[in-house]
Amino acid sequence: MSTSDALPTGEPGVGDGAPLLDVRDLRTAFDAGGGSTVRAVDGVSLTLERGRTLGVVGESGSGKTVLSRSIMHLFADQAGVTTEGEIWFDGRDLRALRRPDLRDVWGKEIAMVFQDPMTSLNPVRRVGVTLSEAMRRHLGLSRSAAAARAVSLLEEVGIPSPQHQMRAYPHQLSGGMRQRVMIASALSCGPKLLVADEPTTALDVTVQAQILDLIDREQRERFMAVILITHDLSIVASRADAVAVMYAGEVVEHAAADSLFSRTRHPYTEALVQAIPRVEDEPHQRLFNIPGMPPQLAAPPTGCRFADRCRYAQDRCVDEHPPVDSDAQADGHVARCFYPVGSDEGREALERNAARGANAVGTPVQLVAKRPSRPRSKEAV
């Protein structure tokens, strides 16, 4: 393990116990032409400690990819993009920095792993060059020193004949290997936070578990914070310490992973969990799906954004926008809902809707629903 000794890592338990990442009311809006603005991230707050994993779950269009970029403040000084809020990272507000200073943070203290390794690696450059770049830039290493480190990184992420692969081009590697290279590149300067944007979506199922295991292992060894962004609930079930569920640019539920599944509070989360087909189900069981579609982010509704698809929706949901509440037990489990699942208000709301056959918006509602249970995590095949 001599290579690990030489690698910079985040120190555990340092400082005043403040979280490594503290995002407060982050907003990112795009100027979509013709005067309209797309509010892709509309008031997201979350925290993350060192060495912990936060899973961010959402369907496409929920804003989770924009969130990943926003957390790094990649949109700084960019034309047509407005950002608000605070991003406290390791004692500094990233939003107060301009691009030149942010470039010292990117790649060195916060690193990102992208979704599709085929297009995220420069096709005309050799793997070794791509790997060495960040180290030479941030750590000031010479070409040979960086190359040596690159080789050990390749070994660490499980690439066979690393010395030889240094001279390979991305198109000569398989998808899984490319993603490993991507991860190696992200880890090269020993970041304190790793943002993994759907790292396994573009990969075969058999490879997915391997990559996730790799990220797990690296996290433990380096005591890194990890943000795992995905649309796949089963991934966050097994790999994340805490989960944030995103819908239409907002975090609608945020809890420890266990709590999210055992004490689901937001109707959207409940519906997501129900939609997962399970091995124990009867054959030919009709799959549950959520009726309707997410709202246009250029013109979000005034009330709750999930209202038109929600079984529990009442009139209040249409008129008022639900803030993030706190759980009575204050274990950090929060949800944006007036009638949370499993609460008295929630049960009454559901009965009321079932009785009249539709929710406050008019969408039909059935009373009977499967009991949500924690989905099984994917095993390595």
Partner: protein, 305 residues
């Protein structure tokens, strides 16, 4: 391999074409008062009594040995005349290409990087205008303002590179510039368009997210993939420049292949024209091959089939 058929076809077509041109080269050599016997004799001497195919085969055989024959006018050795004039045209073409690159590369990169900014808009307008200006017009204007009025640069004439590089450059700069400007405009727009597309690629974002500086991103990450189209187009332009800088050579009275071409065609000097066309075709083909090699170098995905 396309090279061989193209060269054969071009050289044969030239012979046929010139053959179709009315007017008897023999008569123009011997004059109107020549007797029929003299004409026949001369014709036999020049091998003009054979069929086109026969003449072509003869010519090809000689050409492969490097002998392009003797000019019908003035008894000049064709090969010699060509090799004397080739450096001029080559220098002009290369200089024009270099100037065009020098103008197009930085402006194309910067316009793409600062897309929509004032520089981008300004260069778009300027390049549209330049593309619409034919070289002979720009050359005329240059000559007027720089040579006639300001007397800064010479209007006509040429000094060989080996003799005096400084003077050579003074004579070459205006014609090269006139040739370079429209090319630069096209190349710049092409590079800009490709680079704008490349800068959207995920791997560019990945480089930015690694903290790479803008110079690195634009030049080291994005330039190579974007340059592929540019190299192809530049290569084609170079090939064209070699064969087509005629108007400029004419205007500036430069002793290059272009001027020789004009004179030879006007005088029906078949042999000279044949040799010239062949050389130009070879240059075009060679440059095309070089372009293919360059593209393979730039894009490793192309290399293994």
């Amino acid at each position: 391999m396309q090279v061989l058929p193209v060269l054969l076809l071009v050289s044969f077509a030239t012979m046929v074409l010139i053959d179709l041109v009315p007017g008897d080269p023999v008569r123009s050599i011997l004059g109107e008062s020549a007797t029929p016997e003299q004409v026949l004799a001369k014709r036999a001497q020049l091998g003009l009594d054979q069929s086109v195919v026969g003449r072509y085969v003869d010519w090809l055989g000689n050409a492969l040995h490097g002998d392009f024959g003797t000019s019908l006018q003035g008894n000049q050795d064709v090969g010699g005349a060509i090799s004397q004039r080739l450096p001029v045209t080559l220098e002009l073409a290369v200089l024009a290409a270099l100037i065009a690159l020098l103008l197009a590369l930085p402006s194309g990169m910067y316009a793409a990087y600062r897309r929509g900014g004032w520089f981008d808009r300004a260069t778009e307008a300027v390049s549209s205008a330049l593309v619409s200006l034919p070289p002979f017009l720009t050359a005329t204007i240059f000559v007027f303002f720089l040579a006639v009025n300001a007397q800064v640069l010479p209007v006509t004439g040429w000094v060989p590179l080996s003799q005096d590089p400084g003077e050579n450059l003074r004579h070459a700069i205006l014609p090269a510039l006139a040739l370079a400007l429209p090319e630069a405009a096209v190349w710049m727009r092409l590079l800009r368009a490709d680079m704008v597309a490349t800068l959207q690629e995920p791997y560019v974002l990945a480089a930015v997210a690694k903290g790479m500086r803008p110079t690195n991103v634009v030049v080291r990450q994005a330039l190579r993939p974007s340059a592929i189209s540019l190299v192809t187009v530049a290569g084609l332009s170079l090939g064209r420049l070699v064969g087509g800088s005629i108007v400029v050579e004419f205007m500036f009275a430069l002793p290059g292949l272009g001027n020789l071409m004009i004179e030879s065609v006007i005088r029906h000097d078949i042999v000279m024209v044949q040799g010239l066309v062949f050389v130009v075709a070879v240059a075009y083909v060679v440059i095309n091959l070089a372009v293919d090699v360059a593209v393979a170098y730039l894009d490793p995905r192309v290399r293994q089939g």
